[in-house]
Symmetry: C2
Subunit: 221 residues, 2 copies
Amino acid sequence: MDETRDFKTQLYEHFARIGKALSSGHRLELLDLLAQGGRTVEVLAREAGMSVANTSQHLQVLREAQLVAVRRDGQYASYRLADEQVFRAWQEVRELGRARLAEIDRTVSDFLADRETLQAVNAHELLRLVREEKVVVLDVRPKEEYQAGHIAGARSVPLAELKVHIKRLPKSREIIAYCRGPYCVLADNAVAFLRSRGYKARRLDSGYPDWKVQGLPVAVS
Amino acid sequence: MDETRDFKTQLYEHFARIGKALSSGHRLELLDLLAQGGRTVEVLAREAGMSVANTSQHLQVLREAQLVAVRRDGQYASYRLADEQVFRAWQEVRELGRARLAEIDRTVSDFLADRETLQAVNAHELLRLVREEKVVVLDVRPKEEYQAGHIAGARSVPLAELKVHIKRLPKSREIIAYCRGPYCVLADNAVAFLRSRGYKARRLDSGYPDWKVQGLPVAVS
DNA sequence: CAAATATTCAATTAACTTATTGAATATCTC
DNA sequence: GAGATATTCAATAAGTTAATTGAATATTTG
């Protein structure tokens, strides 16, 4: 029965390829960006603060583990998540980290001192508030990410445009901002700005990909 | 805003600690064993075919990532999964591998040529069959694992005892065998043996931890 | 077809991970 | 308290991974 041992070793070694792909901070950041929609190498490199060559190499690793797919588009290579299950695996790792690694909470509250006062709304509460027309929902990600997919009924107001757009927001209704995910700071900044101007505002506790993967209503344009 | 970059880098680096813990075949095998219940270092080493020192080192890595917890018990150190979420993360990695890595299917069908003919039952079908009292359910894992927790209504018949126990099984009802997980071969062997003796038998397509994590009825004794 | 742009590849270096070995520690048993 | 057992630790050697650099390739634009 030593064949059984070889079989097991080989099998777990295969699964470990997935783990290896998830074992670098840079690669997780790339996956998290790709969860918002496809992107070129250069854009990914800029957004993740890495060199293009290094980004390309990490993308090769993700591609070998079949977590991302690439489509050549003229002179650009456009990468995207291979499928939604890849996001779910990253989400599971993220939630496990949040639950078990105290350092994560510490890092977050060092950087975002007022995270606790934010009273973030969860996805199901938000769905109810939207249905009852009690809130205005703002997608504060870059416009291209909104166009690639957004929460049904949300308006696109990239953080940079919020200062201008604010005049068109009602003070009578609460405003809910969301962005890429629970650790994305765009929504925190939006909420802080809105509150400083006397608006009632909170953030969604997760992000667009989390909303989508739960099967909640989305729109594309 | 370079502080934001540092914050992100640090945060993703923390999450990558979880990925790193999942990036070795040996460690995944240890987690999969621990999902059946707590075990000592020596037992883990024997079951995973590793040296005790090496097993201990891998367990330290898992412990630093907070995926396992240890309790000293006299001269033994007993390791267990830190919580059920750890199993879910491993399960997600496992399912992602199954869905995306063709090598996994190939490795399985090379070793278990008749996997396809097995017509495995899924958890919800099994639950229905049990409720309707249409089947006999056999837990073919070692007795200690049955005692640490098993599917409600299942009988403990470790594979080695099946030859003796077979006399007490009805030919009129179908027999469903299950073991540690979808890649555990104990249930395959049990089904092959039962069929060779003229019994109607199938296996559960997953294992005890998968059943439990779905919230289906379990028993302990 | 030359120049510009986007991406990948290959080579290098530094840093990290793994398995092995043997020693150290800690608990139990007599 | 001596001997046995279980686990961890420390040191080593071999193997792997990461970031950087500069060159190679491939596509578009003029």
